[in-house]
Symmetry: C2
Subunit: 232 residues, 2 copies
């Protein structure tokens, strides 16, 4: 049996940031992160998450060195699968998509696939890195303004693209990797009090996606250890 072994989030910053509401990718957001994969790739026997290594929130410090050997970037996710270790959310998602059966997170049509990657990369490279906790912590009192600036800048680019590509979801009417990137980024935008009324397509897509069970259960606001004030 193949396995996806999701290793514990264990960077030095985890103690400070808590477990769940910081990761862009809901797949890797918490111990429940594997559920969307199980739903879209409905072969539970192919996937399991080894939570034996996952300590309770607040106990990650001791895993830092151990985790560093698994993912030198010390960020989630890191996945040991098929004899290789992979980090970077989009690389992991695409590997699972290409090697496991089940509904696809990247469309078969090359143009749509390119659009899915464009949207995913715009979020994962163009927005997320500039407002993740590691950067924000360096900003001190300016952190809210900094995060808002970069999320707004990214959403201003994303809105017209999604207006063009979207149907029910980010690209046409099939759930894709782009949707997986969008939802937690909108959650971050809400945390940093970005005005979503300016982005009607983003707002609509997020609302539609949040109705779906897989997104609902993996949403950062619904994790076992999400702080009370961030629960949605």
């Amino acid at each position: 049996m193949s396995c996806v072994k999701i290793s514990a989030r264990a960077s030095e910053k985890v103690k400070a940031i808590k477990w769940s509401p910081q990761c862009t990718c809901p797949l890797f957001n918490s111990p429940r992160k594997i559920e969307p994969i199980q739903q879209w790739h409905p072969k539970p026997s192919l996937f399991f998450m080894d939570t034996s290594e996952a300590p309770a929130p607040g106990e990650f410090g001791s895993l830092t060195e151990q985790y560093k050997t698994l993912n030198p970037m010390q960020q989630v996710p890191a996945v040991e699968i098929d004899g290789i270790t992979l980090s970077q959310s989009l690389a992991v998602i695409q590997y699972i998509d290409e090697t496991r059966p089940g509904p696809r997170l990247l469309p078969a049509d090359p143009k749509k696939r390119a659009q899915v990657r464009m949207i995913s990369d715009l979020i994962a490279s163009g927005i997320q890195p500039l407002q993740n906790l590691y950067v924000i912590q360096k900003m001190g009192a300016e952190k809210m303004q900094w995060a808002q600036h970069f999320i707004d800048r990214g959403f201003q680019a994303l809105e017209p693209i999604l207006k063009e590509t979207s149907g029910t979801y980010c690209v046409d009417d099939e759930i894709s990797m782009a949707d997986i990137c969008l939802v937690p980024q909108v959650y971050n935008a809400e945390r940093f009090k970005v005005d979503l009324e300016k982005y009607p397509t983003i707002k609509r897509l997020n609302q539609t996606l949040r109705e779906i069970e897989a997104f609902r259960v993996s949403h950062p606001s619904c994790q076992p250890d999400t702080p009370e004030e961030l629960r949605g």
Copy 2:
């Protein structure tokens, strides 16, 4: 005949940063950026770059609004191809790779392909966004320290990964998208005076790649408008 129409770099920041030495992706680095594609996908008739829109360096300001409709993020690259408009370097490279003949920039083997994506994403999401000019300009006097910090942090993660995956090039012995990401990132590291001796694998790969004609001619230091002090 299909065409790749590379539109002029025309964001509001272009005037300040000049044309060439700022983009992570050598494919999209200058009017000569298409050459590596032509070499690896040796079907010149499939690819051409329409430079008729490309104004001389220093004349991009007037194109800002026009370019914004093409790429709302106002970054290079933006490509009109097969009836769609694509931005984001990695999405463009993969689209070309999947739809055009010629040597592949992503390996056929899924594991190697995942490793190529992991390395590319580590650079494109984990390093490049934090030291690109738009961010650096916000840092004022601290910009050198800021850039060094994030490049060092990324290279500390990249070095052990490349030690594991590399052969002659980043992943085994075939040139891939990962190599395309590595070379300009090393160039940026050199600009920000990061000590490369700490990263022997990165240094070796960069030296090997720079010997290759396609990398040589597209290197940021070799562009027609590279400032004299940045020429290599």
